[in-house]
């Protein structure tokens, strides 16, 4: 399934922060992990992750460092900061709100997949 461009962009921040909250990581590993966790459904254009990482770094949500891996190659590792964790929990509440709202609406409509655009809030 292809995700819309806006949704991909919007979900990148919570995804990156969540993954980094579980341990330091680098760009390629983050992309791979997102792909695995979504069963290969959620695919980013690989390069686009990096501007996102740099933005989060500038905002102070994550911090970066260069490290030499065991294979002798240099990699840029990212670590979530305390501020990043606060941001993550705030994002988490926002996404849960959106998710809960959509679930409530969709639970009331017969079959959102086939009936096209659902009518306004049913069940008055």
């Amino acid at each position: 399934m292809e995700l819309g461009k806006d949704l991909v962009a919007a979900s990148a921040t919570p995804l990156v922060l969540t993954l980094l909250a579980g341990g330091d990581s680098y760009g390629y590993a983050i992309i791979k992990r997102v792909s695995e966790l979504s069963g290969g459904q959620l695919k980013w254009t690989d390069g686009m992750l990096y501007p996102v990482l740099h933005r989060l770094e500038r905002l102070g949500h994550i911090a970066a460092r260069w490290e030499v891996s065991e294979s002798g190659r240099r990699r840029k590792y990212y670590r979530i900061t305390r501020q990043g964790r606060a941001q993550l929990s705030s994002q988490r509440r926002q996404w849960q709100l959106v998710d809960a709202t959509l679930r409530t609406i969709w639970a009331g409509t017969s079959s959102p997949m086939t009936s096209g655009i659902a009518p306004a809030l049913p069940g008055h």
Binding site: Y26, G27, Y28, A29, I31, K32, T45, D46, G47, M48, Y50, P51, H54, R55, E57, R58, G60, A63, A64, R65, W66, S71, R73, R74, R75, K76
Partner: protein, 457 residues
Amino acid sequence: MVASASGDSFEQMIGQWRTYVRRHPSIHPRDVDELESHLRDQAAALVSVGLAADEAFLVAIKRIGNLDALSREFAREHSERLWKQLVLVPDASSEPGHSAFQDRIVMVGLAAGAALAIKIPELFGLHLLGDGQQVYTRNLSLFVLPLLTAYFAWKRRVPLVVCWQLVLLLAAAAVFANVFPFVPGGHTETLTALHLPIALWLAVGLAYVGGHWRTSSGRMHFVRFSGEMFIYYVLIALGGGVLTFFIVQMFALIGLDVRWAAQLWVLPCGAMGALVVAAWLVEAKQSVIENMAPVLTRLFTPLFTAALLAFLATMAWTGGGIDVTREVLIGFDLLLVVVLGLLLYAVSARDLQAPPDAFDALQLLLVVSALVVDTVALFAITARISEFGFSPNKVAALGENLILFVNLSWSAWLYARFLSGRGSFAALTQWQTAYLPVYAAWAALVVVVFPPLFGYV
């Protein structure tokens, strides 16, 4: 890792790819390193599931995505890399900018205004080289900085509230420069003349950032602007000197001595007008100096470090303290200000994401040696104060040394943290931009409080 048989061609392809990516100005070599690391990981993973190295490379490239789109994303995130476009061309979608023609007309008008303003006191019989010298000394910055402020207030479409604040600020400056009954040629008058421009530069900065002075990046843009304007001004002054020389020589050939015209008109009017022109040039011809200023910083940082170290070594060798006279103290202050300028400019021109390199270590050395020199100066000043008591000059020098001491100490600490990988360079940038108002506040304090405090001597 990639199979060694096709390893060479793989490295070649990576090399070609790097050259290609580097053509995008918004993607820095450091980002290319990160992308290359990604590319290699991706390719290695593909090779491990059975692809040939070159196939793996092509798939990995494809997955990185369209480079133009990527470069746009990088440009959006790293605005400081392309700051001239962002500052110069106002966001077309949100606010219509003034046309280049309008801009030039306003600039020429304000430059002419500044050139004429300096002659206004002459209308009241106060001559630059005669009895009006006192008026000129105190008000020098007030002839041109309000016009410069007006230029940016117009150019940035500064909100009306901020405009009123600026007017109040400038009016207060004019009042404090002129109401005090200074003893002619006294110390406090000289201090006012020296500190008023520093305080007023804040007003220019406020207009320059369009009232958004709370943002660190806005202040950093203003630091860059100040550095580049300084370079432009020096260049214009050099050209002006040559021009004046030739005018005087040419008229001497036909038996006319026009030195008076050069002294009374060309020099003062040119010096004032050139400030506005320099500011406009920084805005309009950004890319010229933008490349030069960091080079100059890199050139002079090692030289100043060497000079400071040589000085300290000599002082340690001869075992003598410094003989503190007034001139020496002022010299020290100026030296520290230059060091601070170098530091500020180096900080403003640096790529925030780049890891520590040798130049950062050199900067730390410069800061530390300046700190030592500052400490020596501080000791000398306190010794002199305890021996001869307080004087406006010594207190001003003491205050400035303390302010610089605090800044340099914390900068050294932040640099050390950054070099050891425990801190980010952004912390240093933020410290420097957060500290900027301190200079203006101190300068304002000297202008407002010192004259009455020391009895206008």
